[in-house]
Amino acid sequence: MVAESHAAHLSQFMKDVIADTPGGQKVVHCLQCGSCGGSCPNGSEMDFTPRAVFAMIAADRRDAVLQANTMWQCVSCYLCTARCPQEIPITEIMYALKRMAIREGKAGGSDAPALAKTFTDFVDRYGRSFEFGIATRYLLFNKPLSMLKMGGAGMSMFAKGRLALTPTKIRQVKQLQAIIDKARELSNED
């Protein structure tokens, strides 16, 4: 693992990725073997495989990485992490890249940030997630056409009692919101 005293020699982008990923220091040991890109269920859909992304991070190609779809194709199945021969926390790095892309306003090319935002907005408000609300709101604003396609299955789900129309709200929602507000405030301090 790269010692803290050696981190000075890395690219700025690499330093930022390491700082934002628990256990991220291991990324400097990438062998470029590609077992991540070969394992990923969505590897074929990615602009760059994780391995290539790590090479680009080392080469400080910040915009090219943060504008890519790679991390947004990650569904957190952890297969790459389980197989990486250098035990690099690849999935966690993908999360870090998502956060950086949002923070730096570069996450333009994917619908995933919008879905994530819709989801967490509901949780912020109710304390629980709410499939029907999330799906309709997300689809309405982002993919109105696919709402029509979903119609049939959605109706069946509704008929089977699997789509709640009203969200559950937790009792101590104020407490949760206080925690969230404090966490947001603290994360802006960095």
Partner: protein
């Protein structure tokens, strides 16, 4: 009379001086430590000029003791002892204290590193005052040598020594010598037939007048030390009279019990319950595998006994312990293959046509179960495409972090054999091609020319889950082709997993018996990784071949020969010096409680019945100090490590604390400019 001590602090270029203020320490010692007559620093104390300086001071200043602050005693204790001897001082009146490995190399902070080095110098100065002149001892070297392991490295070592006229005991755990090399078909990069180059050496060893071959035997116990080891060997019961057997093989032919041969044939073929592992086995004396023999299972059969023309079958044979005495030991115990089932995504053991590299060696081998025909598990279908997977259990922190070194070349060899024998396409899935020995890169180029296909990417998985009709009934190798950056799937008929080379299961145990240690990975640790690769930290014990780390045949042979040369040198010299650092029992004060006798790990303490006291056998004593600490009466003394020496050393380390209170501490006050 007060001693006159010379203190010499080495810069070691910038190795020490880069982190430790050596000049200040030298000055400080000269000004503050009692009895220090001369104190100097120098760029390279181990250079001839540095040694000369010490020698001249001893003569001119009439020094009685010398302290050197430099590197590890492993490296230069001998050097400085010799310098002292040259100047007429007893070498045991010199103390080398390590301010490099213990200070400059391991500390980041200059002030702290300097402080620690200063304490170590002070400790050495206090200790050296009480060191006593000692005279080295010599023991004769028994010219016989024990070689453990009859693979190519051990064979080479044994033959070198035997040819030089020295006796060798060659111990091999399997029924025949030959090792892994006997299992291979061809060898890279020359494509020599492995058996053709190995079997002459095997039969030479089998017939050599200077070699006592002990096959199907294992090391039980070692005692003694360099020059005169006493060794117990367990000769496992063969159930065949070694001398009576003519090796006709009728017993093997007629034995009705067939079992899967998981050793020599790597599970690809069968053998009988009484067997010789392969036709060219040395010795040509079979063994009975008691776990599968019908007689041992249910007291029936005895077909071999009935048919043996020389009555050589002995069902009641027992294991036998053989005592031998040797001057040196060469360990050449080799490696074991990685268990590919540990990587379930490669499907070994679940998907029939996934093979290990050892299985494929047998499949290719003209003397193997298919007579060298490359066919799939059904025994008849010739594969149309083969994938070779590199780095299976190597370069993988989850298994073995090291590179196994030989797999890239073995893959090229397999590729060549497949292309030669079949019409199949061959894919090699590699991370980095490592072909860095003589004629290896050329072999890689040859295979590129022969049409072997190379995909740069570690294989992610091997599966039978077809996604499209072209994949039906195939094994699909999935990976990222990292050179184009795309995920790819390759449907093939056969997959070969190039498993890592791993240390033998019992390597640590055997090392312990011989007094040598293993690295974290489990390979034996050599004395010096560059300059002393076949010696170990235990005098008289050497290592050769893959037991010291993964290597190919040429390197194993070179190490076998190198170890033999080292042993031959010791034998020729006739005697070895052993350190006079041994324990002594004050027999007048000994109560004869015998606690020390049982504690001694080297069996170096005898009990004299008549006066009823214990005595140390100096030739066997290693100076470990166990008895010194254990003696309830405190009447055992360890030479060079007596109480006075050790307590003085501690006082030296605590020099600051022992100064009168009004004295300001030296590191708080800058050392005044030159005072010597």
């Amino acid at each position: 009379m007060a001693e006159k001590i010379g203190v010499y602090v080495c810069h070691c270029g910038s190795n020490i001086a880069g982190k430790v203020d050596v000049e200040d320490i030298a000055k400080w010692a000269g000004e503050n430590l009692d009895d220090v007559a001369v104190s100097r620093d120098y760029k390279f104390m181990c250079s001839s000029l540095g040694q000369q300086m010490i020698e001249e001071d001893i003569k001119k200043e009439k020094l009685t003791r010398v302290v050197v602050g430099a590197c590890s005693p492993h490296l230069h204790e001998k050097t400085f002892r010799r310098a002292c001897s040259n100047a007429g001082m007893n070498p045991y009146l010199m103390d080398l204290t390590n301010i490099r490995e213990h200070c400059s190399w391991v500390h980041k902070d200059r002030a702290q590193a300097t402080e620690k080095a200063r304490a170590l110098i002070s400790a050495a100065v206090q200790r050296v005052k009480y060191q006593e002149p000692l005279e080295p001892m010599f023991v004769d070297v028994n010219p016989a040598t024990l070689v453990i392991g009859g693979g190519i490295a051990g064979l080479q070592a044994a033959l070198e020594l035997a040819d030089a006229g020295y006796h060798v005991y060659l111990v091999e755990r399997m029924p025949s010598i030959g090792g892994h090399m006997a299992q291979f078909d061809k060898t890279f990069p020359t494509l020599d037939c492995s058996a053709c180059i190995l079997t002459p050496k095997m039969s030479e060893a089998g017939q050599h007048e200077n070699i006592t071959l002990l096959t199907y035997a294992e090391l039980e116990e070692v005692s003694g030390s360099v020059g005169s080891f006493k060794v117990k060997i367990r000769q496992k019961a063969r159930c065949v009279d070694y001398d009576a057997c003519t090796g006709c093989g009728i017993c093997v032919e007629k034995c009705p019990r067939k079992v899967l041969d998981t050793e020599f044939e790597a599970g690809m073929g069968n053998r009988k319950a009484i067997y010789m592992p392969f036709p060219q086995a040395v010795p040509r004396v079979p063994v009975i595998d008691q776990d599968s023999c019908i007689w041992f299972e249910r007291q029936k059969c005895r077909a071999c006994e009935k048919l043996c023309p020389t009555d050589a079958i002995k069902f009641d044979q027992q294991d036998e312990l053989i005592d031998i005495e040797v001057g040196n030991i060469i360990i050449a115990t080799g490696w074991k293959p990685f268990d590919s089932k540990k990587i379930p995504q490669y499907g070994y053991g679940r998907l029939a046509n996934v093979y290990t590299s050892m299985e494929f060696e047998r499949l290719c081998n003209a003397a193997g179960p298919t007579n060298g025909k490359i066919v799939m598990r059904d025994g008849k279908t010739v594969p149309k495409s083969i994938a070779i997977v590199h780095c299976v259990g190597s370069r993988d922190d989850r298994h073995n972090p090291y590179c196994s070194g030989v797999c890239c070349m073995a893959s090229l060899k397999f590729g060549h054999l497949v292309l030669e024998k079949t019409d199949a396409e061959v894919y090699s899935f590699y991370i980095d091609m490592r072909t860095n020995q003589k004629n290896y890169e050329e072999f890689y180029q040859r295979l590129l020319g022969e049409g072997m296909r190379f995909v740069r990417g570690k294989v992610s998985e091997v599966t039978d889950a077809a996604r499209m009709p072209t994949e039906q009934g195939k094994l699909i190798v999935q990976c990222e082709d990292t050179l184009i950056g795309r995920q790819q799937r390759y449907p093939v008929d056969m997959v070969i997993l190039m498993g890592a080379l791993e240390p033998q299961e019992d390597a640590r145990e055997l090392g312990l018996k011989c007094g040598i240690s293993c690295s974290m990975d489990g390979w034996y640790t050599e004395r010096h990784p560059k300059l002393d690769p076949v010696a170990t930290m235990t005098d008289g014990v050497f290592v050769a071949g893959t037991c010291q780390g993964p290597k190919d045949i040429p390197a194993s042979v070179a190490q076998g020969a190198a170890a033999a040369a080292r042993v031959a040198g010791m034998i020729t010299k006739g005697r070895v010096m052993i350190e006079p650092i041994v324990a002594t029992i004050n027999e007048q004060a000994c109560s004869g409680c015998k606690i020390c006798n049982n504690m001694c790990p080297y069996n170096a303490i005898e009990f004299l019945e008549d006066p009823g006291v214990s005595r140390v056998i100096t030739a066997l004593c290693k100076g470990c100090g166990t008895c010194v600490a254990a003696c309830p009466a405190g009447v055992i003394t360890g030479a060079h490590f007596n109480n006075k020496q050790i307590f003085s050393e501690i006082e030296g380390i605590l020099w600051d604390a022992l100064q009168p209170a009004d004295d300001s501490s030296p590191q708080a006050e800058p050392v005044p400019a030159s005072a010597s």
